[in-house]
């Protein structure tokens, strides 16, 4: 097993997985929050946009979005996210395109998680906020969202775990994350096929299990007392 680790950069591959997860999670959280606010806003156009966003991205396979970022956004529409002169151009560009795909896709799930969180906030909270003169955005920011996030910890955590595993889809546009390296290894070392599978399965469990434990702990601690 030691030779597998020296022959292939397994830890490096998982490091790429972690980086993809980290940046995509931040992107998804920001986009998802904005879309969720649109979906509960009093402006019909924004509500319509939010609903369309969720319906489009939640119902499109991630692989399709991933391939589109590479073939559509980059190669056809010319969206370049890295320095074209750099010798790491393909690596960097694909990595960033993958983050875009992961972020916009998971944002739809973040939005719906948050919306379920918003539904846990009693309507009286928003009414009281309106009655002291807070505007819609102030109401959302100071009263509704802080409580909605607490109510949404569990579904948000589920989305994060799904995101960690969905980073494997980035391999279709050549990002050398864990599953990409795994496929390489399976080609080269079919003799230890089961060992390779087990290494990667355990690798992902090591990433996701603590997230699950953290979610449980956080949701218990943050639960809004009524």
């Amino acid at each position: 097993m030691g030779e597998l680790f020296s022959q292939f950069n397994i830890l490096g591959a998982f490091w790429v997985t972690i980086q993809l997860t980290f940046f995509a999670a931040i992107g998804a959280l920001v986009i998802g929050t904005v879309v969720a606010v649109m979906r509960v806003s009093p402006v019909p156009i924004l509500r319509g946009f939010g609903t369309s966003y969720v319906n489009v991205f939640r119902n499109t396979p991630l692989t399709v979005i991933m391939v589109f970022t590479s073939l559509g956004l980059w190669q056809t529409l010319g969206l370049v996210l890295a320095d074209e002169q750099s010798q790491h151009f393909f690596k960097d560009n694909n990595f960033r395109l993958a983050i875009v795909a992961l972020a916009v896709y998971h944002a739809s799930f973040v939005c719906e998680s948050l919306r379920s969180g918003i539904n846990t906030v009693q309507p009286g909270q928003a009414e009281a906020a309106r009655s002291i003169g807070l505007t819609f955005l102030q109401n959302i920011r100071y009263v509704v969202l802080p409580q909605a996030f607490r109510g949404a910890v569990t579904p948000l955590g589920n989305t994060l775990i799904a995101l960690i595993k969905n980073t494997t889809v980035a391999s279709v546009i050549g990002v050398a994350e864990a599953s990409f390296v795994m496929a390489d290894m399976l080609d080269a070392r079919a003799d230890v096929l089961f060992l390779i599978f087990i290494i990667f399965a355990i690798g992902f469990v090591i990433l996701t299990l603590p997230v699950g434990l953290l979610i449980s702990a956080v949701s218990e601690r943050l639960a809004v007392k009524r």
Partner: protein, 269 residues
């Protein structure tokens, strides 16, 4: 429009009563032919009501008579279809910043308190002044502590709403509204969710507030409060204002059959 006429009378204990004070003040809240439906149900039928500066109007009536809706319509937590509402001469704006600004001038106390569950008592009271009025934090906190002392919950300032009793929470809610220096305060059945022993501590605060000259619209089932602190009683039934009078007159000599029936049911025990 029948205004409350000054009824010169004297309390049993000999002290001059504060109820039935003359109201020569300017009109503050004016509802003009307000109509509202919930689907098929006509909940507010052609409501005309004027509340003057410094006046305490108590709205009573059976459940489902539209009195809570009336209260919520005044600061547009409920929309209405026709008619107009103006506050201090300004018509109620539609959604947006103007409406938010107007709401800041209209305090509201809810049946279910609605304190911000994730904020401390002190933060509950300072949020509005800081974010809406732009008051500095230290200044807002000092004012908040004064208000909390005025309603008797200063010791709870750093706790969260869930740690307080219902009566304490409702008094904090009153302080939260007062912190905005409202022109008028609306009370939507403020004691209906309280245990009997906590009702008085809230009513005491409201009575003091009424005596200090605050303009108030109070929807309540507390007839004692209506008698003690009210300047005028508005009796609603089936979405209409059926009768308006001074508390004294209303309770002793109700004119309409609907009011006689209502009072007969609640005052016999």
């Amino acid at each position: 429009m029948t205004d409350a006429l000054p009824a010169a009378h004297v309390d049993p204990d000999g002290a001059a009563s504060t109820s039935g004070r003359p109201h020569t003040g300017e009109p503050l809240v004016v509802l003009d032919h307000v109509n509202k439906h919930f689907g098929e149900l006509h909940v507010l039928k052609d409501i005309d009501l004027t509340v003057h500066h410094g006046e305490v109007v108590v709205v009573v009536g059976p459940s489902g008579s539209g009195k809570s809706t009336l209260c919520r319509t005044i600061n547009r937590l409920e929309t209405f279809e026709s008619g107009s509402i103006s506050i201090d001469g300004k018509p109620l704006p539609d959604e947006g910043k103007d409406l938010a600004r107007l709401r800041a001038d209209v305090g509201m106390v809810f049946q279910s308190f609605n304190l911000f569950a994730h904020k401390t008592i002190l933060e509950n009271v300072t949020l509005g002044p800081i974010k809406v009025r732009g008051v500095k934090k230290a200044e807002a906190e000092q004012r908040a502590r004064e208000l909390l002392e005025r309603v008797g919950v200063q010791a709870q300032a750093d706790k969260y709403p869930a740690q307080l009793s219902g009566g304490q929470q409702q008094r904090v809610a009153i302080a939260r509204s007062l912190a905005m220096d409202p022109k008028v305060m609306l009370f939507d059945e403020p004691t209906s969710a309280l245990d009997p022993e906590m009702i008085n501590e809230v009513l005491d605060v409201m009575t003091k507030l009424a005596r200090s000259g605050m303009t108030m619209v109070v929807v309540t089932h507390e007839m004692g409060f209506a008698r003690k602190a009210g300047d005028r009683v508005v009796f609603m039934a089936d979405g209409q204002i059926v009768e308006e009078n001074t508390p004294e007159e209303f309770f002793l000599h109700p004119r309409s059959d609907r009011a006689k029936d209502f009072l007969g049911k609640i005052l016999t025990h």
